[in-house]
Symmetry: C2
Subunit: 205 residues, 2 copies
Amino acid sequence: MAQSGDERDKAPRTARGERTRRALLAAAAEEFGEKGFHEGSISGITRRAGCALGSFYTYFDTKDDIFRALVADMSGQVRDYVAPRIAQARDGIDAERLGLLSFLEFARGHKEIYRIIDEAEFVDQAAYRNHYESTAARILVRLQEAAARGEVGAEPDEVHAWAIMGMNVFLGLRFGVWDDSRPAEEVAGIVNGLIERGIGASGRD
Amino acid sequence: MAQSGDERDKAPRTARGERTRRALLAAAAEEFGEKGFHEGSISGITRRAGCALGSFYTYFDTKDDIFRALVADMSGQVRDYVAPRIAQARDGIDAERLGLLSFLEFARGHKEIYRIIDEAEFVDQAAYRNHYESTAARILVRLQEAAARGEVGAEPDEVHAWAIMGMNVFLGLRFGVWDDSRPAEEVAGIVNGLIERGIGASGRD
């Protein structure tokens, strides 16, 4: 209980505290997204959040600590943005189309996400792996559920999940962050054609 | 001609010079792969290469300069490792199987490649974009040539090229760098089934 940095010690206890913590995370996304982890600073974060330096230490211990929290938070934001869209899918193949479509939308609205998650590879390898491993695990579960319903003909494999995630990550970079001029529906439609024929029930021998 | 840092000024003029430059690049791959760009140092590189500090400045101007050269060099190494394997393909779909297979082999033998190319996103954005844009452009040309031979049924699109590259990058990370216990042939086979049905000539309506 007396362990230093115990998460419970710093978790906000009030709605106002939760708002301040969220403001600090949003400011950290701006600060690290713009300057990177090494050049970014705690004082830059509190300045952007419009709060005192002391408030930072109420919720976080170090720059590493808020960076780790930010990676987990952005990972969760993507998941929470995509999940309700996927829930409206006609079937397991359409779910992957909506997954990419909503991810492209998210990336277009949060262009800093790549810099932050990718920099975790250098700043916090565990957070980086956890983001991708948990994303791939969710895709695999979706494919397995779709296969059980007869909507996926291929035997779902971790390889399929990592392949789909890899497509989405690079399409999000190319058609979300670097150049968002191509309609997201068109990009997601082309990929979904590949996936539908590639692993869909009708595409199998 | 008098421009500082003009590449021609520092290009090796002898075979011995070329060997020293290559030894410095190999040492830089170790140094940056292990410590990252920020912690890595020129003296660490010359120590690993077993050469004098002066030799470094014969071929490179700065730490940024050798990092940029290293990204271009690793990008070229992947291309040169994969190209002859692809040239042996039965057809355009098999070419993508051999592309992934040989990339998995390369990643298993050069596990530092991800740290180096990914860190370019922060150290040298132009080198980072150039690596992925040129890789995707090569894939698109392969798909277009295969389509012209009737081996690809879908109309090749930049989206297909980025999707295939994205799969390969993440499968290389997961099954090449993080855990190389699964046979590369098996991983490449599963993905190629998806691609063959997804965009192959027989998979089309």
